[in-house]
Amino acid sequence: MALKQSGLGAETPWTKSVVMQRQIDMLCNCVEDYNPLFLDEEIAEASANKGVVAPPTFINCFRDYKTMLLISELGVDMPMLLHGEQVIHYYKPVRPGDTVWQRIKIVEMGRKKSKTYKEMDYFVVLITMKNDAGEKLVEATQFFFVRDKQ
């Protein structure tokens, strides 16, 4: 296995940030998803959401120290990395102006058989996002493959 096994259990520090409407705008722009519930205060306020909420994949826009974690703790050769599965669980809505805390942890690693690449290293990260009160907002599990160098 090319990945450094010492990386299992490594985690980024909890990082604090304030959710900006501009971040949501950027995500909606590139997905070309202009749902006003993500973008328009007045329309969102009139809905059951009672205000703007972030789109379902917004957690992907929080990755402080993630590259450092993968490169230095796991020794991932980034061009060989492939994304597999992502599972996101939602607990509370994330809104512009919210202060959020986020951490990424390597929770599993190993080697797997692949139809296309015979065998590959894999690892799983857990991304947790909490609010200032320590309540869980969103949690995502991401499964990555690392192809062997030919």
Binding site: D33, A48, P56, M78, P79, E85, V87
Partner: protein, 184 residues
């Protein structure tokens, strides 16, 4: 200084065909049937779009933004889109339908890579309805396929939908029960 309010369509220069008409409310649990199918055709993915996603997500892996490294070191024949860009599009087919009804869970698995020029058709189908505690849950099998019909993403989502308040409906099949206050 006071912030000037500009509509989101102007702020983001939303093309007219992409403007989403606001709904009064999302669907109710009793109106969603198992087997209901949803579909959303997205325009071809551009290199600029992938670059924008790299900026928005902070994922600047050279596989997505550097043609030379993606081709020569990654041996992928050139850059390809982030799996999460496609997941965002699959999310859209769900949230367009659900409107303000919240998701409890959403997952996708990237099955094959998506390259610039590929156009995704996102789909979702209601596969199950059930109640759990206070929540009424609807499960979708969802994903995306490219212009050749190959599945690029496959996954699952679970949404929480309310039921309308109970009432005596006009189409009551046994009106004599009402007369006898059986349902009162």
């Amino acid at each position: 200084m006071e912030e000037q309010k500009i509509s989101y369509t102007k702020r983001l220069a939303v093309p007219e065909k992409h403007v989403v008409e606001p709904k009064n409310e999302g669907p109710y649990f009793e109106d969603v049937e198992v087997g209901l199918e949803l579909e959303l055709k997205k325009p071809p993915i551009t290199r600029l779009q992938i670059a924008h996603f790299a900026t928005a997500s902070g994922d600047l892996n050279p596989s997505h933004v550097d043609e030379d490294i993606a081709r020569d070191i990654g041996k992928m024949g050139g850059i390809f889109a982030h799996g999460m860009l496609g997941m965002g599009m699959v999310g859209q087919v769900l949230t367009d339908f659900l409107w303000d009804r919240p998701l409890r869970m959403f997952s996708t698995r990237a099955t094959i890579i998506v390259r610039p020029g590929d156009s995704l058709t996102c789909f979702a189908k209601v596969t199950r309805k059930w109640c759990e505690g206070d929540d009424n849950l609807v499960e979708f099998a969802c994903g995306a396929k490219n212009q050749r019909g190959e599945i690029t993403h496959e996954g699952k989502a679970i949404a929480v939908l309310p039921h309308r308040q109970i009432a005596v409906h006009d189409n009551l099949t046994q009106p004599y029960l009402l007369q006898h206050r059986v349902i009162g």
